[in-house]
């Protein structure tokens, strides 16, 4: 008991400060994985995955049957056009999910391939929504500074009287982004 009390008296304040510091730290940030890039003539194929994008609250929103749009934009950064890039290149991809409460399945729509399909598990939804495989970007420039950003559309929430709710709150209002340079 004496040993325990001694320990507590000397270490407890350090522990308390440690807990406070730990609570002050943020959770996992939403982020893109390192992209895989394939360049074929004027076309660039980019593959990446958005990590930690589905926190518990967002999954709950999807399960409520509210449609959720995840948008990813690809842009040739304007300030780097002087470096040799000429085109104001921009592309947007939208991944949409809608839960069918009665059928208990998810309808996923991918704008890039213009396809829709149904999955049963939330794990599959997460996988399909966050995976961007071989996104085709046609840009003839010799020097490209490509910036990729992801965000979610706001939704209307019946629970708060049909008011708009910013889904980005689940990402701490931080847009995950990615930047890479291509020199030909």
């Amino acid at each position: 008991m004496e040993v325990l009390l001694n320990f507590a008296a000397t270490k407890v304040i350090a522990v308390v400060i440690g807990v406070v510091a730990l609570l002050g730290t943020k959770g996992k940030d939403v982020a893109f994985t390192t992209p895989k890039i394939i360049v074929v003539s004027d076309t660039i194929y980019v593959s990446t995955v958005l990590k930690s994008a589905f926190p518990k609250g967002l999954k709950e929103i999807i399960l409520s049957g509210t449609p959720v749009n995840l948008r990813v934009t690809f842009q040739n950064k304007e300030s780097d056009l002087r470096q040799g890039g000429m085109s104001h290149f921009s592309k947007e991809i939208v991944h949409n999910v809608k839960y069918n409460i009665a059928e208990k399945n998810f309808l996923i729509t991918i704008s890039e391939s213009d396809t829709s399909f149904v999955v049963k598990e939330m794990r599959q939804v997460e996988q399909c929504m966050t995976n961007f495989n071989k996104v085709k970007l046609v840009c003839p420039d010799k020097y490209i500074v490509m910036v990729v950003k992801a965000y979610m559309d706001p939704i209307k929430m019946e629970a708060i009287g049909g008011k708009e709710f910013e889904l980005m709150a689940f990402w701490d209002y931080q847009m995950p982004s990615l930047k890479f340079i291509i020199k030909r």
């Binding site: 004496e2 009390l5 001694n6 507590a8 008296a9 407890v12 304040i13 308390v16 400060i17 807990v19 406070v20 609570l23 518990k56 609250g57 967002l58 709950e60 929103i61 399960l63 409520s64 049957g65 509210t66 409460i101 009665a102 929430m157 019946e158 629970a159 708060i160 709710f165 709150a169 689940f170």
Partner: protein, 410 residues
């Protein structure tokens, strides 16, 4: 663990024990709380409503209900997390604040104890002139009164002791001095009688007798002068003029005086980390020189004795005086003072058990022509420095003298 730490800890634990049930109640027990209400039952009921809807209208209503419920849950999820975070932060914050308040409060209530500890340290250092201030607290006031009463008794006892010591010292001094004076006087008296007798009988060997007798008389007078000189030194020992001093430097200086004596080796081991001590450098030098001189003189006497018994062994003797300084930190530093210890040890002949008992008695000496006052003067100097001197035999060979001086910031 100190009383202060225990009280602070108890204060903090009580606070936590008071706060934790509140959080538990809010997070777990309250079943009607909209944030922490039982989720599973409501959700399964709504799902059943969707599954059992008979008409499209019923289905739309059920779906809308489940949509609103799940949207609410989604909104409440981060709130729940934030609530838990806030609760933990609240407990931690309250804990730190309570420790802060407790430390101030405890400092206030333990102030008399701190004062008591300080005065105890002073008493341990020999200063009993202080008194504890009276406090408002009843319990501490009783303690303060008793402590002050004890100090007063101690002061009276010390005064009585001083007086008794003075009387005893004078008695002892008179007795010893009479004894020491009597010896040379007897020798002088006998020499004088013999000289007179030879003169009156007009003895033939009168010139030889005059020569021999006057030599004896001169020697006895010299002994007498030495004795009176030492007595005077002992009686007039001035109050120490204390200043912060590096003890190692003093010891090195004393050792340097005897380094050139043949067949005497010095082994020096100084702890360079020792703090400065507040001493009269001159008086402490006198003590150290006296001890080193005693060791060397004892060795000469031992050699003389050994030479008679075994001349070869006496020549081969490898005499060494080891001088060490070290810093002694007491286990309970709050009550006892640190001290610096000087150990002067030799590998010569050990002191007999009987002699050890009388080393600090006035006029006790084993040396021919010794005054028997050297060690008692050394002891007196060290007592005036709140220090002490101890002499004992080494386990294997020779004897060791330990001089301890307190590290006092006063």
């Amino acid at each position: 663990m100190t009383l202060r730490s225990r009280l602070i800890l108890a204060f903090a634990l009580i606070l936590i024990l008071a706060v934790v049930p509140i959080i538990m109640f809010t997070s777990k027990v309250a079943p009607f709380n909209p944030i922490f209400g039982t989720k599973g039952n409501i959700e399964s009921s709504l799902e059943n409503a969707v599954a059992n809807a008979k008409t499209p209208e019923e289905l739309v209503v059920a779906e809308k209900a489940i949509q609103e419920y799940r949207q609410s849950s989604a909104l409440l999820e981060p709130l729940k997390l934030e609530f838990i975070k806030f609760s933990i932060l609240l407990v931690c914050g309250l804990f730190l604040v309570s420790v802060f308040i407790a430390s101030i409060y405890v400092k206030y209530i333990t102030r008399p104890l701190q004062e008591l500890t300080y005065i105890s340290q002073k008493i341990a250092g020999g200063d009993i002139s202080m008194t504890l201030n009276k406090v408002k607290d009843k319990e501490f006031n009783k303690l303060t009164t008793s402590f002050n009463f004890m100090l007063e008794s101690l002061r009276e006892a010390r005064e009585k002791l001083k007086l008794t010591e003075r009387h005893t010292a004078w008695q002892e001094m008179s007795r010893m001095l009479a004894h020491e004076i009597k010896n040379p006087l007897t020798a002088l008296q006998l020499s004088n009688q013999r000289l007179r007798e030879k003169y009156l009988t007009k003895s033939n060997d009168l010139p030889e007798v005059i020569d021999k007798t006057t030599k004896i008389m001169e020697s006895e007078i010299n002994n007498f002068v030495t004795l009176v000189g030492k007595f005077s030194e002992f009686a007039r020992l001035p109050s120490p003029d204390k200043k912060p001093t590096n003890l190692n430097e003093i010891i090195k200086e004393c050792v340097g005086l005897y380094e050139n004596i043949p067949d005497v080796k010095f082994k020096e081991n100084y702890d360079e980390s020792i703090p400065e001590v507040i001493i009269d450098a001159g008086q402490i030098k006198q003590v150290v020189k006296n001890i080193i001189k005693n060791a060397i003189e004892a060795r000469v006497e031992n050699l003389a004795e050994a030479e008679i018994e075994d001349p070869d062994a006496a020549v081969e003797e490898n005499f060494e005086i080891s001088v060490t300084t070290k810093w002694n930190i007491p286990p309970r530093r709050g009550l006892l003072l640190d001290e610096v210890e000087t150990i002067i040890s030799n590998n010569g002949k050990a002191i007999s058990e009987e002699d050890l008992k009388h080393l600090f008695h006035p006029y006790f000496t084993t040396k021919e022509g010794g005054s028997g006052l050297g060690l008692i003067i050394s002891e007196r100097i060290l007592v005036a420095h709140n220090g002490k001197i101890e002499i004992e035999n080494n386990q294997d060979k020779g004897a060791r003298v330990s001089i301890k001086l307190p590290v006092n910031k006063a």
